[in-house]
């Protein structure tokens, strides 16, 4: 099994507890003022308790809170009952993670007696040396080790983004349409991989859940990933065939089609929420792995494998676009639709192929993005990054999307050297705006497209 985790000794797992928020709130509670409380903390390498500030927690459809400098939080609820509380692990400081990554959502029962306390046990993966270097001087921030680690993370993000972005860029190239629903194709991939992995081929239909594998029981994650790509291609094909091809044929303007993609995006996103719920979930396999260390950088076997797969897929896409008849047709249509049509290329067929491949690639990207958390709005959260990537690279160009995605991925991770990691995605907006100001056609784009 290529994904099996390797224990590495430098990784010090330290105990962590959520401790009482303090008597001051508990005793003062009256029954009409109920909440869920807690305090996030971990022990550092020297055994010192550290409270974790700025972590977001939320209860579906109720509200959220961010931990303060004492690591404390409180989310008010309307009344007694069962609640699901989620911790946004993305807001945890670098190097801090849940002891059990699958327990990012916890059930809690609030009684009418007062606030209910809840514990999210945290661990620090920092080795003593790193923790000391980081705390001793700010130059530790800029250490070779940190920069190379961020670069590695950036390349990882960039590779996933590239797979997500190529479809968006090619759909734009061949049809002139900016597909705002592309984020939902990504989420679709995540959710499909999750369902196949957990429930099997048809298990999520409920009444078939008792069937044997692979129908009613979860299938191996690698199989689930392949199936997810197939489903991504299917959704891409169906969306083009049912929604956009008919719109093109009825002469719906491109701007109206763009509004249609927005409507589609929202519709799909809330269909996901409706059936999947707002909870954060994890795949049944590879959800948590210890990192391996090499050249001072840390990477889990899972992520290394996913990156390798991404590289292979992207190279295959590149070869396919330049060497195969179908790929050349795609590029020809992107380049000049009328010319391609007059030279005998079936443009509608090419568009259909682009949607299928774009959907499958987005699904694969979504599957990999889902390693952190499987959630209903995963795609929407990275849509900004994808837009920045395709604009920077040049809308309509597949290779531009690749270049743009790598730059955006690395830029975002490097930005945490100077800004709060919570704000790192803002870097994408800055990249987007500067790209439009300085080179609106993108790095590999042509000028005629933009006016």
């Amino acid at each position: 099994m290529p994904f099996t985790g390797v224990r590495s000794s430098f990784l010090v797992v330290v105990a962590a507890l959520g401790v009482l928020a303090g008597a001051q709130s508990a005793s003062a509670q009256v029954s009409d003022d109920l909440g869920v409380i807690g305090q996030l903390q971990y022990q550092d390498a020297n055994g010192v308790k550290v409270f974790v500030e700025g972590v977001d927690l939320s209860i579906d459809d109720v509200g959220g809170a961010t931990t303060d400098k004492d690591g404390s939080f409180r989310i008010e609820v309307e009344g007694p009952g069962e609640y699901t509380i989620n911790i946004d692990v993305a807001t945890l400081p670098t190097g801090i993670s849940l002891r059990d990554p699958e327990r990012s959502s916890l059930q809690v029962t609030v009684s009418e007696n007062g606030d209910q306390r809840i514990i999210f046990p945290l661990v620090s993966s920092e080795s003593g040396a790193v923790a000391n270097a980081a705390s001793s001087a700010s130059e530790g921030n800029w250490s070779v080790r940190r920069v190379s680690q961020l670069t590695l993370e950036g390349i990882k993000l960039g590779l996933y983004l590239a797979m997500a972005a190529i479809g968006l860029s090619l759909i734009f190239g061949t049809t002139g349409l900016v597909n705002f629903a592309h984020a939902e194709l990504i989420t679709w991939g995540t959710l499909m991989a999750y369902f196949f992995n957990i429930y099997g081929l048809v298990g999520f239909l409920g009444f078939m859940s008792g069937w044997p594998a692979p129908f009613g029981e979860g299938v191996n994650f690698i199989v689930a990933t392949v199936l997810s790509m197939v489903m991504g291609g299917v959704l891409g094909y169906v969306l083009n065939r049912v929604v956009f091809r008919t719109a093109r044929n009825s002469g719906v303007s491109l701007l109206a089609q763009m509004v249609m993609t927005i409507g589609l995006s929202i519709f799909l996103r809330y269909v996901y929420l409706y059936f999947f719920g707002g909870r954060y979930r994890s795949y049944g396999q590879y959800a948590s792995q210890r990192a391996n260390s090499f050249l001072g950088m840390e990477l889990t076997t899972r992520d290394a494998t996913a990156m390798l797969v991404s590289v292979v897929v992207l190279v295959a896409v590149g070869v396919g676009l330049t060497r195969t008849r179908m790929g050349r047709a795609m590029r020809a249509v992107s380049d000049n639709k009328d010319l391609a049509e007059s030279s005998g290329i079936d443009v509608e067929k090419v568009i259909s192929q682009v949607w299928i491949f774009g959907g499958a690639l987005a699904a694969l990207a979504g599957t990999f993005f889902g390693f952190d958390q499987v959630k209903w709005d995963l795609g929407t959260r990275i849509l900004l990054l994808i837009f920045a990537a395709v604009t920077l690279g040049g809308l309509g160009t597949a290779f531009g999307a690749l270049v743009g995605a790598l730059i955006v991925g690395i830029a975002i991770n490097w930005s945490t050297l100077v800004i709060d990691s919570e704000l790192k995605n803002m870097t994408a907006l800055v990249v987007l705006i500067f790209a439009l100001l300085l080179r609106p056609q993108g790095i590999l784009g042509k000028k005629q497209r933009i006016g």
Binding site: L255, V259, I266, L384
Partner: protein, 334 residues
């Protein structure tokens, strides 16, 4: 089922605060999209600019609420410049990309811990609107009846000010669109190159339009946070932008009164559907929950599915609005 209750809720929703706030934001979007053809996919960002215009002034600077009102428009204008300068010379969809990205970034920035001293972070800002409520001629905590409707005094005051502003702004837009300025905007919407060939600085007019519509959106954001008495970053969710789009397309883009009509139709429909589902007999509800997972939470989600599906179908089949004429469509296609 209590039909009387459902109908009363539906009718009071037709003039309620949501209708007024969303209509006002839609008036701004109408200036952008309906009259100028600007694809602003981040109107909620302008609403946030308006909300934080007053919120930040009171919370961070400790200045008066009334000075904050100036910042409502300053922030909106600065945001319009920031979004417009890189995009308005380019094809229409680039504005869409940048506005949707910026509106979400504004929300993330406002809720971040770095900005907490300025924006109040996730908890947001409250207790800033007292100066507004102090002017109320109605007793804030008392109920006032208007025919079948009963409102708290504070709501009556907000509704009165809000609707007055909405009508005034709508009349202002009407006047502008009848002027040569509005004529130029409509020309740019149809064919920017034609307008440029006739000596119109299209970039400049589009920027003016973006600023005006953005400021109107900011005003809507201001009224929203006054009505809620709190500024919360997470209320400025991107889906609001597209609710406003749905409202505008229901009413018909490029018509003066369409934001109000669209907003009334949208909100009464939503309130009707949600209340009807919530009032279903127990047996029917259980059946729906077991078969299609229609839980209380999911009833709330239906609204957004309706927005998305509605926007998709409207843009596909009736981009001129449900009252728009086929003739107008035909003009588009020739």
């Amino acid at each position: 089922m209590d039909w009387g209750f459902i109908i009363e809720r539906t009718f009071s929703a037709m003039i309620g605060p949501e209708v007024m706030i969303y209509a006002l934001a839609a008036v701004g979007l109408n200036v952008h999209f309906g009259y100028t053809g600007l694809m602003n996919f981040g109107q909620v960002g302008f609403m946030a600019a308006g909300a934080y215009g007053v919120g930040v002034t009171v919370f961070w600077l400790n200045w008066s609420f009334w000075i904050g009102l100036v910042f409502v428009f300053v922030y909106a204008a600065v945001l319009a410049l920031l979004l417009g300068i890189p995009t308005l010379r380019l094809r229409a969809d680039y504005l869409g990309l940048v506005t949707i990205a910026a509106s979400e970034t504004i929300r993330l920035l406002a809720r971040s811990r770095v900005m907490k001293p300025v924006t109040g972070g996730v908890e947001g800002i409250d207790k800033f609107a007292e100066p507004f409520y102090n002017l109320s001629p109605f007793e804030l905590g008392k109920f006032y009846s208007f025919g079948p409707f009963k409102y708290l005094g504070r709501d009556v005051w907000v509704l009165m000010v809000g609707w007055t502003l909405l009508i005034l702004v709508t009349l202002m837009v009407q006047q502008l669109m009848r002027s040569p300025w509005g004529r130029t905007l409509r020309a740019i919407r149809e064919d920017e190159d034609a307008a440029r060939a006739l000596g119109k600085n299209a970039y400049f007019f589009k920027m003016q339009s973006l600023m005006l519509g953005g400021m109107i959106g900011a005003l809507a954001g201001l009224i929203q946070v006054i009505q809620k008495s709190s500024v919360q970053a997470d209320t400025f969710n991107p889906v609001i932008t597209f609710t406003i789009w749905t409202i505008l397309i229901i009413g018909g883009p490029g018509r003066v009164w369409s934001p109000i009509i669209g907003s009334s139709i949208y909100w009464s429909l939503i309130v009707f559907v949600e209340n009807t589902l919530r009032q279903l007999p127990a047996g029917a509800r259980d059946t729906l929950r077991d078969t299609v997972e229609l839980s209380d939470f999911n009833i709330g989600m239906l609204r957004f599915m309706l927005v998305g599906g509605g926007l998709l179908l409207l843009a596909r089949f009736r981009p001129q609005g449900i009252f728009g004429s086929r003739e107008e469509m035909a003009l588009d296609r020739r």
